[in-house]
Amino acid sequence: MTTTTTGPIEGYIQTVPTLTREGETVTIDAQSVYYKYVNEAIRAAIADGAKSIVLNNVNGQRYIGTGIKGADITITVNGTPGQDMAMLMDGPTLEVFGNAQDGVGNTMNAGKVIIHGDAGDVLGYGMRGGRVFIKGDVGYRVGIHMKAYEDLRPIMVCGGKARDFFGEYMAGGLLILLGMNSRLEGPLVGGYLGTGMHGGAIYVRGEVEPWQCGKEVGVFTADEADLADIKPVLADYCECLGMNLEEVLSEPFTKLVPVSHRPYGKLYTYL
């Protein structure tokens, strides 16, 4: 492969990388290839009938899986993908053997993202459907404005700890925090938990302090019915990430739900 110096960034390979194809599996070597060409290769392979894409040597390339459609597509990422992975993704299963960065599952529609590591900030922003499973810790502003609609219910499970603004403005769906696979010191979750929340539910394995919670949420201990709701999700999570369901369920969960669907309904006077 030749490295061209024309194009947006010096030192990147700016041609579509070569694909190795075996049956319905296509392998792409992303080493030093500029993101645009990695994604072009993925789209071309799918258009060409590939069902399984394996990306090797990924190192910060953005938008992997962004806008990709098809429930029968699987994308395997070996390495560290860049920002906005699986944004607007609609159906595929995307598995990362490494850590992910910010913006995973941004406005995602359907499909599944499995991350065998930590992930960054703003995960699942405005997510409308599908599942995002993260094994380790997550950053700030996770699950902001997740929203459910009819049979679409976005689900995100984070196995480690989370920082501030977890589930802020949440309008629907399910957000679960386990605090089990953490490398962080300090509390399970930061402050402003569920601030401005007006739909959906947040579950935290363990307890949260009143100071951590936004004033728009009501805090309860999860009961039998709640656990029945999240158990299949956790079973799926454990299966994807090789964890033990019984161990996950061995601690009580705290449930946070919005007090109102109209948190700001009484704020105004009409002129």
């Binding site: 953005r62 459609k69 409308r128 679409l152 105004y268 006077t269 002129l271």
Partner: protein, 503 residues
């Protein structure tokens, strides 16, 4: 204790000698002003002077007058400020209102005049000579490489990589107004008119209703922080994609559609539950920097096959630097929304006191981008109370490629600027979701009126261009030498890059 100190703003007078007692006023009023007991009785406190009843009264017997109650004169405390204190003392609430800023601020447009050709260079007669209003929205290349076509001519070099542009047959588009804030029939009217005119309508932030799919080539799809109705299919449908960062009427605050306006259809289009508030947080929580904006611009390009992506911002203090960042982040156009722009709902205090005039914003953004040598990399759309073709011509001369009209397009559909959009009771069926009101707008009728308006302004713009002696609207863009200021201070003239009249 009195329940309220607020007296009615208008008095509804019915001449009962003429009144047919037909009850049409009762039927037509969306605000519930009239009750009927052998004849109509108005409740003045509910009247917003929207003139729906006046328009439809077969006897022409209704008069709406200002309630001219004398308050002691006070140059410091206006009657309105006094009323607002009483209102807030009664409610404790943030005052919510609709449409654009109604406070007095010096209009820059009204202090600018255009040039015309006289003896030395001829004007052009637009009635007989071609006058080009077509323009293209999007990024223009820094340079163009051509190659011989083998027939003695030239063609663009293969793989020149010119970004997609959207063709506009007139430099006017319809401003973003969401389905939810306005009715579906308004959206249909706008879409049909846009298709007939070869221009664009803009979904606003509430998604694209399925009935508008046939018009998708003439639609800009908007992505706001709430991401309502945004999915891959939605992005595939638009002619262009717009990231909404700010709105002129309410810079720095988010969108908020109250649950009352979210019926089944709106909920389907926005993909959110019925009756639940639709909140678009003020910031996009995934955009805290220009780099983050670049990330969103390119993710939308990736998801849509590299369509033009624009960014809509409110005109604020450092708008030049902000616009420069937006263009450098890869935006194909910058949409500038001035502080007189309309809205479906905004706190009055924000609407009336935040932001800067559009005219100033256009001039500084155009100048800044020129100074940096990147003006070609993005189109500028100017909006925020473009009231006539004169405003449009002046906006283009100040540096805009295209103007967008929102309030004017609603007025074409019957809006009387009563500022009650946020109540959801619009008698004209524009800013409401109540079926008995929304059916008052027939999309065919609406499209015709919008088409008429844009045609009229287009002809007037051709006349203006002819007078200026230019035969293409793109020749007027940023041509501030063709403007003069009357009664603006020296510093404002300097910022605008416009000489005072007489020089």
């Amino acid at each position: 204790m009195p329940t309220t100190l607020i007296q009615p703003e208008f008095l509804v007078e019915i001449d009962y000698d003429k009144c047919h007692k037909c009850g049409r006023c009762v039927q037509q009023c969306g605000w519930g002003v009239y009750s009927f007991n052998e004849r109509p009785f108005p409740d003045d406190t509910k009247c917003r002077a929207c003139h729906r009843c006046v328009t439809y009264c077969p006897a022409h017997c209704i008069k709406i007058k200002k309630n001219d109650l004398a308050l002691r004169d006070n140059a410091n405390w206006s009657a309105e400020q006094r009323k607002n204190v009483w209102r807030q003392a009664e409610s404790g609430g943030v005052m919510l209102t609709g449409m654009g800023n109604d406070k007095f601020y010096q209009s820059v447009f009204d202090h600018l005049v255009l040039d015309a050709c006289q003896v030395t260079n001829p004007s052009i007669d637009p009635l007989r000579e071609p006058m080009e209003l077509r323009t293209y929205l999007g990024r223009k290349p820094d340079s163009v490489e051509v190659e011989s076509d083998g027939k003695g001519g030239y063609r663009l070099k293969e793989g020149a990589g010119i970004a997609k542009n959207v063709k506009l047959d007139a430099p006017i588009i319809f401003s973003p107004m969401s389905y939810g804030s306005v009715s579906l029939n308004v959206h249909k009217s706008l879409a049909m008119a846009a298709e007939r005119l070869g221009i664009l309508m803009n979904t606003g932030e509430g998604g694209l209703h399925a009935d508008l799919y046939p018009y998708q080539d003439n639609v800009i799809v908007q992505v706001a922080s709430g991401r309502f109705g945004v999915n891959p299919e939605y992005l595939q449908r638009g002619a262009a994609i717009e990231i909404k960062v700010g709105q002129g009427a309410k810079p720095g605050i988010g969108g908020h559609l109250p649950g009352e306006k979210i019926n089944k259809e709106v909920s389907t289009t926005r993909m959110i539950p019925q009756g639940s508030d639709a909140i678009s947080p003020a910031p996009h929580h995934d955009i805290y920097s220009i780099e983050d904006l670049r990330q969103l611009i390119y993710s939308l390009k990736e998801a849509s096959g590299y369509k033009p992506v624009g960014v809509k911002i409110a005109a604020v203090h450092n708008v030049g630097a902000i616009a420069s960042g937006i263009v450098r982040a890869g935006a194909d156009y910058v949409y500038l929304d001035g502080f007189k722009g309309g809205t479906g709902a905004a706190p009055a205090i924000i609407r009336d006191h935040i932001g800067i005039p559009l005219e100033i914003a256009i001039a500084v953004v155009d100048q800044r981008l020129r100074d940096e040598g990147i003006r070609n990399q993005a189109s500028i759309i100017a909006a925020g109370s473009i009231r006539s073709s004169a405003d449009m011509a002046k906006a283009i001369a100040l540096g805009a490629d295209v103007v967008a009209i929102g309030s004017a397009s609603l007025m074409a559909l019957g809006c009387h600027l009563c500022q009650g959009c946020h109540t959801g009771c619009c008698s004209w069926g524009l800013t409401t979701q109540k079926a008995e009101l929304t059916r008052r707008v027939d999309p065919e009728w609406g499209a015709e009126r919008l088409t008429n308006l844009v045609h009229a302004w287009s002809h007037e713009l051709q006349e203006i261009l002819g007078a200026l002696g230019v035969n293409a609207v793109e020749s007027l863009r940023g041509s501030r030498e063709r403007l003069r200021a009357v009664g603006l201070d020296a510093q404002t003239c300097e910022i605008l890059g416009v000489k005072p009249a007489g020089l």
